[in-house]
């Protein structure tokens, strides 16, 4: 591999970062276009829902609603207006409630984030130590047990796990799903009591792949020459693993944790539905059914943006952490 002198390397990193950020722009525009068009391709629209409540749905009424919601605009014009609003952090007005989408999301975003972050923290805290342990104890019963557990975690659908907890939760650990949701800022204790169960379910699912990857990268690193050198120097096994092998083994693991953001978002949709949490995922399913275009667009766009940005951060942090990466 070609080695660059330090000053060239610095420049190369800058060029690489700039390139990555610039590539994000066409991708992001593509995403906005895809969201906008697909939402409009969905069969039916909100007026069908409104009209179904109306005793005498006249064409004039339909036209007046269309006028009010600006649904009679051409798609290019509507898209341009929406994009223009986005630049000013204005996601438009919800069709179903008539209130600004931003206002509707402020209560719901924290609910989803809380669930997601708790799940991810749980996943990482159990997956990495177990993965390392599994690698260190390779081919022992501990290894077989943890590997089977990891595959099992990947195989159980989280919505089924949720259903089983709701059905058997009281018998198993006297837990019942609470009747009403308390926000974190209103009643933190009640809130955690509600959120920890779905967070553990989602986290367990995520932990499976992190555990497997940690194990295989650890095994790979532990065969490297530098590990043998470290051992030969007389370092304790603990230091060899913690300070030498683990550091390098964590690189691909970080990537996978970053890529899991997408899986995490899909997971919150399902778990919010089962546990009736008032988050974005459940709101999205409702807004989709109502064909509330601005709300659907805003949520999907935010989710996509989150995925894009985390992927970018992962790639960039890689460039800083691992000097072996070439910036081509």
């Amino acid at each position: 591999m070609r080695r660059l002198p330090p000053q060239d390397r610095g420049r190369a990193i800058h060029v690489y970062i700039l390139r990555r950020i610039l590539l994000l722009i066409p991708t992001f525009l593509g995403v906005t276009l895809a969201v906008f068009i697909v939402v409009r391709l969905l069969p039916g629209d909100i007026i069908d829902q409104i009209i179904s409540d109306q005793a005498d749905p006249s064409p004039e009424f339909r036209a007046s609603v269309e006028e009010r919601l600006k649904l009679n605009q051409g798609v290019p014009q509507a898209y341009a207006e929406w994009l223009f609003g986005l630049v000013q952090f204005d996601f438009g007005t919800s069709f179903s409630s008539g209130r600004p989408v931003t206002e509707q999301l402020t209560d719901r975003i924290p609910v989803t984030f809380e669930l997601g972050i708790m799940a991810m923290i749980y996943s990482i805290t159990i997956a990495i130590p177990i993965g390392v342990l599994s690698a260190v104890k390779q081919d022992t019963p501990i290894d077989y047990l943890t590997r089977s557990f990891a595959i099992l975690a990947l195989s159980i659908p989280s919505f089924w796990a949720g259903q089983m907890v709701i059905v058997y939760g009281f018998d198993w650990f006297s837990w019942t799903p609470p009747l009403r949701y308390e926000y974190l800022w209103d009643d933190p204790v009640e809130n955690i009591k509600i959120t920890w169960v779905p967070a553990v379910i989602l986290g367990s699912f995520l932990s499976g792949s992190v555990m497997r990857l940690t194990r295989s990268t650890m095994l790979e690193e532990m065969r490297q020459d530098y590990v043998r050198t470290a051992r030969a120097k007389g370092l304790t096994e603990r230091l060899v693993i913690a300070r030498h092998a683990m550091r390098n083994a964590m690189l691909p693991v970080i990537t996978v944790i970053g890529l899991q953001v997408s899986v995490l978002i899909s997971g919150t949709v399902v778990l919010e539905t089962i546990f009736s949490l008032p988050g974005m995922g459940r709101y999205l399913i409702g807004a989709l059914a109502l064909r509330d275009y601005p709300t659907v667009q805003a949520i999907v766009l935010l989710a996509a943006l989150l995925v894009l940005v985390t992927n970018l951060i992962v790639d960039l942090s890689y460039a800083f952490i691992d000097p072996r990466i070439r910036y081509g």
Binding site: V167, L284, V307
Partner: protein, 309 residues
């Protein structure tokens, strides 16, 4: 072992001179010997496929036979897994559900394999502008969280083709499209490293066309990666299909699907937990076996990972 290796000098490896069947047999035996868990998973999968092909042989009733006098009965010799709200036999519905999962799983993975080979190989082989354009499309597809993306596509397409069977076709198509994005990346990087080989250069020098090089030289080299993708994705596809059907966006009635059964169990499961227990168990067992088998297969096929497991 050692004596046999020195006796015929084969080192236990298949010799090209052997017939195809001998090589397959030898590969099979070595797989069974080296991967007992993978073999066990394969046996579960074979049982699953047999059930999926002819569910009626094993089922005690039809999947849509309504018996209102015997509704919501617990598991008994008459109904092994109990009966649902309309008195349909849950055991039979789980068996027929296997067919739905397996069909959609294989169709989706097959579509993903074809699409990802086309995109991945041409993107990696031509490079430059072709690559840049393809990769931006892949970026866009991957930016959407999987479930949301499929709910979108599924809602759009199911309006074009409503109905129970059509919903399965649409599901397979959308899942295949989604999963092709991820695997096209893997195929692409494998293509890039293959193209750097001298034999590709040699083929070009003797005047082989691009198409010929891609089909005769690149494809055989990325084939292993494609097979690994298929085995890894099959479990994920079945899992996400069940999640969709659970949310009401997947397979439409009357065909039974495990996810759909869990959705229908939502209302009655507190008093009749067996309604939710058995379909979920079927999903978990299937995905577990697929993952175990995929793992074992990958160990055997992927030379880079050899020795790490």
């Amino acid at each position: 072992m050692a004596a046999r290796e020195t006796a015929d000098g084969s080192l236990g490896l298949a010799r090209p001179a052997d017939g195809v069947f001998t090589r397959i047999r030898r590969g099979l035996f070595s797989f069974i010997r080296r991967k007992p868990l993978g073999t066990f998973a394969a046996l579960i999968l074979i049982a699953l496929f047999v059930v999926a092909i002819t569910p009626s042989t094993f089922a005690t009733a039809s999947y849509d036979e309504i018996d209102l006098l015997n509704r919501l009965q617990g598991p008994s010799p008459d109904h092994f897994f109990g009966s649902d709200k309309q008195g349909r036999d849950v055991f039979s519905r789980v068996l027929f559900g296997a067919r739905t999962s397996v069909l959609i799983g294989f169709a989706a993975v097959g579509i993903a394999a074809i699409l990802s080979s086309l995109v991945g190989i041409s993107s990696g082989y031509y490079g430059g502008k072709v690559d840049l354009t393809f990769q931006r499309f892949v970026d866009i597809v991957q930016a959407f969280p999987g479930l949301i993306f499929i709910i979108f596509l599924f809602s759009v397409f199911s309006a074009v083709a409503p109905g129970s069977f059509a919903s399965q076709v649409v599901l397979a198509l959308t899942l295949g499209f989604l999963f092709s994005a991820g695997s096209s990346r893997v195929v692409r990087s494998q293509t890039i490293s293959t193209v750097q080989n001298t034999y590709v250069e040699a083929a070009r020098v003797v005047g082989a066309t691009d198409r010929r090089i891609m089909v005769r030289h690149v494809f055989p080299n990325v084939f292993t990666v494609i097979i690994i993708n298929i085995s890894v994705q099959l479990g994920a596809v079945i899992l996400i299909e069940s999640a969709l059907s659970f949310l009401g966006f997947g397979v439409q009635p009357p065909y039974p699907s495990w996810g759909r059964m869990l959705n229908e169990a939502q209302l009655d499961m507190l008093l009749h937990p067996y309604l939710a227990f058995f379909p979920g168990l079927a999903i978990s067992l299937t995905v577990y076996a697929l993952n175990m088998f995929g793992d074992a297969l990958r160990d055997v096929l992927d030379p880079r990972l050899r020795g790490t497991e």
